[in-house]
């Protein structure tokens, strides 16, 4: 058992955000176990104990479907994200599974150059050292604000 260290968690976050920010969404589902839980919600809804979100996926297949839908079905103006991810706070580390809380900020860059703070919040993660590689068993993206500007196409 390799064990989960802060360094490995940092490397996972770096690879995850690099994947999205470089628009390599096809690899994005690989960061998750199957089944998994990926939810994008707001702090208010999270506090209220609502399970759902603007995005909700409980299998890796659903993540793959979202990428396919974004690539081939959905219409949105060309845009990219820049994730800035803070230090993970380790809530619990059981050796092969750890629970962490990590702040993030995402800038959205539109094709015409318009750049805005699109979202800030925390990632509530359960990471698992499955077969050596760290993967997300659970990633609940809790946005500080309940407002989404225009639409939420690319994953956070």
């Amino acid at each position: 058992m390799a064990g989960i260290t802060t360094e490995r968690i940092l490397a996972l976050h770096a690879a995850y955000t690099r994947c999205i920010d470089r628009n390599e969404l096809e690899s994005w589902p690989d960061f998750f176990l199957d089944p998994c839980l990926y939810v994008v919600t707001s702090a208010e809804n999270h506090r209220a104990g609502f399970e759902g979100g603007m995005i909700y996926a409980d299998t890796r297949g659903m993540l793959t479907d979202r990428v396919m839908s974004l690539r081939d079905a959905n219409v949105y103006e060309k845009q990219s994200y820049r994730h800035i991810v803070g230090m993970p706070y380790v809530i619990k580390n059981g050796g092969d599974e750890a629970e962490t809380e990590t702040p993030f900020m995402v800038m959205r860059i539109m094709h015409d150059g318009k750049t805005d703070v699109f979202a800030t919040g925390i990632y509530l993660d359960v990471v698992h050292a499955a077969g050596g590689d760290l993967k997300f068993k659970k990633r609940v993206v809790v946005c500080d604000s309940s407002r989404i500007d225009t639409l939420l196409a690319l994953p956070l």
Binding site: G53, M54, R66, A73, R147, T150
Partner: protein, 420 residues
């Protein structure tokens, strides 16, 4: 930028304000960005003889519960008093006009304005004025001051199928009449028992509110802009659908149901049946639909003028409140819901199917952006107009969704209120 131009020095025509000649098949683009129209809408639409959707009854379920919302631009408090009745009043202190309630909702026995501590009951009556009798015999309000003469404006309330509507007008028709029989029936079809809120979020739309409202009523764009179902080979052709428009033109319901003579009612199977292996849902449980209303109708989108949308997309249920936040900005407040007796399977189904709608919705995320495309597209087109001739020029019920009848209905209703 403020440039002073001497009167008469510019020869181009001023901003046109006349509606183009003829029928409801033309919409002038100045209607989406005229400040005069925006101001007039507050008076004639929101404060006029309409029922504005305020919130769900479930959101103010116990005496003392309150929520804040808006009637157009007017901030509003909705509260349930100890008599178990729901009241709503302008969220504006009678003293100097500060907001009385600052947060989004909660539970209270009364409300105190933070500025000078004037106090209100849950009905919006002014109950106490700080230092009303002065201090040590000095100051205080004049003897002639009567608290009951002062207070925020109160709204009339209409409850319908767990929805709370409010109006400032004495002339607005009773809610059933306002909705129209067919639309009323289709609201009750979905809200046939008390709703339980499962989430709330706001989508900020970069466009005038009317562009979103037209979009919801525009059945023509559905399969053209939104290609999720067709991309994944989920066969829509065998579906039957239609639309009803209320006599006022302002309310509508569009719906579709699977034609059981040609298809089973099995969405998962339809997703799997796709010809192209590359475009097959990896996890078709997303579309594992339950016919919860026992009528085969898997999709119903309904509007009530001027700000309400009820959504049933398979088992994804939500209400949406459309609020103007400026000429080119609109808040779309989503509240997703289910029912108290939902089974665990139904709960999971709703959680999954809520992916279909909302800011990240597979089927409808485009609706958040397309209004902005128009707003930007018509920026300099005050003299031009949109063409609404799909399905003719009428506003009546149609057995098809290849029509702009409900959009024309919206303009019929809007123009009647606005006098434009």
């Amino acid at each position: 930028m403020n440039v002073n131009v001497p009167p008469g020095s510019i020869s181009n025509s001023p901003q046109p304000t006349e509606w183009p000649e003829g029928t409801l098949t033309r919409v002038p683009f100045w209607i989406y960005h005229s400040p005069d129209i925006y101001a007039l809408e507050q008076q004639r639409v929101y404060e006029g003889p309409v029922w504005n959707f305020l919130c769900l009854e479930a959101e103010v379920s116990k005496p003392g519960d309150y929520r804040t919302t808006f009637l157009g631009s007017m901030p509003v408090v909705v509260a349930r008093d100890s008599d178990d009745e729901i009241y709503a009043f302008e969220n504006r202190c009678a003293h100097r006009g500060a907001l009385i309630v600052l947060d989004g909702g909660g539970h209270a026995r009364d409300f105190t304005c933070v500025y000078h501590a004037w106090n209100y009951d849950l009905k919006g009556n002014l109950k106490a004025v700080a230092f009303e009798d002065g201090v040590n015999g000095k100051g205080g309000m004049p003897k002639t001051f009567c608290r009951s003469d002062h207070g925020p404006r109160k709204l009339r309330i209409a409850l319908f199928a767990g929805l709370v509507f409010g109006s400032l007008s004495e002339d607005v028709p009773p809610i059933e009449e306002y909705l129209g029989e067919e639309v009323a029936t289709r609201i009750k079809r979905v809200l046939h028992k008390p709703a339980v809120v499962t989430g709330r979020f706001t989508q900020m739309l970069p466009n005038n509110w009317k562009l979103y409202y037209e979009n919801v009523k525009d059945t023509y764009h559905a399969s053209l802009l939104h290609t999720f179902f067709t991309t994944f080979g989920i066969n829509r052709l065998s579906q039957k659908g239609g639309m009803v428009v209320s006599p006022s033109g302002g309310n509508h319901a569009s719906f579709s149901f699977v034609d059981k003579s040609t298809q089973g009612n099995d969405y998962a199977a339809m997703g799997l049946r796709s010809e192209n292996e590359d475009f097959k849902l990896k996890d078709p449980t997303l579309l594992d639909n339950a016919d919860e209303f026992n009528d085969g109708c898997h999709m119903q989108i309904l509007t009530v003028f001027p700000n309400f949308v009820l959504q049933q997309i398979q088992n994804s249920l939500a209400v949406r409140q459309v609020l103007p936040k400026g000429l080119g900005e609109t808040a779309l407040n989503w509240t997703t819901f289910g029912f108290a007796d939902d089974t665990p399977e139904m709960k999971t189904r709703r959680l999954r199917q809520n992916n279909l709608a909302g800011p990240a919705g597979y089927v409808s995320m485009e609706d958040g952006a397309v209004g902005g495309f128009v707003q930007r597209g018509v920026a300099a087109a005050d003299g031009e107009r949109a063409v609404l001739e799909m399905g003719g020029s009428g506003t009546t019920n149609e057995g098809t969704r290849a029509t702009e009848a409900a959009v024309r209905g919206f303009w019929k209703c809007y123009r009647a209120h606005m006098g434009v």
